[in-house]
């Protein structure tokens, strides 16, 4: 996977390519360490915690999606 990302980054060219290559390398390292830590028990615990969270209601005045808000602002300004 990391090799794919590296290859992809090389194909991009320019400053962005260098950035992408560095980020890919960093993520590959981190994911490796995360994979080692992510035992089935830990994953089950995380899933349980996620289920317990109170769902956020979009129309309760809580911003749940920034791009949507930005789109709406632009729309209103037109």
């Amino acid at each position: 996977m990391a090799k794919d990302a590296k290859k992809e980054a090389e194909e991009e060219g320019g400053e962005f390519a260098d950035f992408l290559a560095d980020v890919s390398k960093e993520i590959a390292q981190r994911v490796e360490s995360l994979d080692k830590r992510a035992t089935p028990a830990a994953q089950e615990k995380q899933e349980k915690q996620e289920k317990k969270k109170t769902p956020i209601v979009a129309d309760a005045g809580v911003i749940v999606e920034w791009p949507t808000i930005a789109d709406r602002l632009i729309e209103e300004m037109r």
Partner: protein
């Protein structure tokens, strides 16, 4: 904001460019946007006044594709620098993973830099984030101005960078130092992936 979601195999990082008005925050994002390959160019949202000042915020989504099995997205934001947009700055900081403080190197802007840095700390604290530990990078922008108009990097660092975080000289208007800064903050944010989850994770 959750930096990594192991369940959905997603990594999302929110990076906010903070700093006084006219320090070059939007210019940083514009340069990043200009360097994106066409197929990766999303929509850069920029809400500016007639005089090109950021009215609300700039937003640049960076979809980096799937890296090591994780769909990776960076979201770059700027805040409006002017003092009276305090509420907006606070809002944009919600769920932030890393901050780039863009300082104006001009000697006459030193007080504004300090004020903005204090404002950043206060707003982070209000969000329940520790200003002493959140990933932070300093960028000293406008280094292309005449030397008699700008403060030496050492002086800026001594005054503003009390945490001793990575700092970069930049001329964002022609792209100098922009990606170096972004790379540094990204690495700092990603380095926390293996750290214990904190707020919102």
């Amino acid at each position: 904001m959750s930096v990594v979601n192991y369940g959905t195999r997603e990594i999302t990082c929110k990076i906010v460019y903070y700093g006084p008005g006219r320090s070059g925050k939007t210019t940083n994002l514009q340069h990043v946007y200009s360097q994106l390959p066409e197929e990766r160019k999303g929509k850069m949202v920029s809400l500016a006044t007639e005089t090109d000042r950021t009215l609300f915020f700039d937003f640049l989504p960076l979809d980096l594709g799937t890296i090591s099995g994780f769909a990776t997205r960076f979201q770059l934001y700027t805040v409006p620098g002017q003092v009276y947009y305090a509420a907006t700055r606070k809002l944009v900081l919600q769920g932030v993973d890393g901050v780039v403080f863009v300082a104006d190197s001009q000697s006459r802007q030193l007080a504004e830099n300090i004020e903005s840095l204090q404002d950043l700390h206060a707003n982070l604290a209000d969000e329940g984030l520790d200003p002493r530990s959140i990933p932070l990078v300093m960028q000293y922008n406008k280094r292309d101005l005449p030397s008699n108009e700008i403060s030496p990097v050492e002086a800026l660092d001594e005054t503003l960078n009390f945490r001793g975080v990575p700092h970069f000289s930049a001329t964002a208007v022609n792209g100098g130092g922009v990606f170096e800064t972004l790379r540094s903050i990204s690495t700092l944010v990603l380095s926390r992936l293996s750290a214990p989850a904190t707020k919102g994770s």
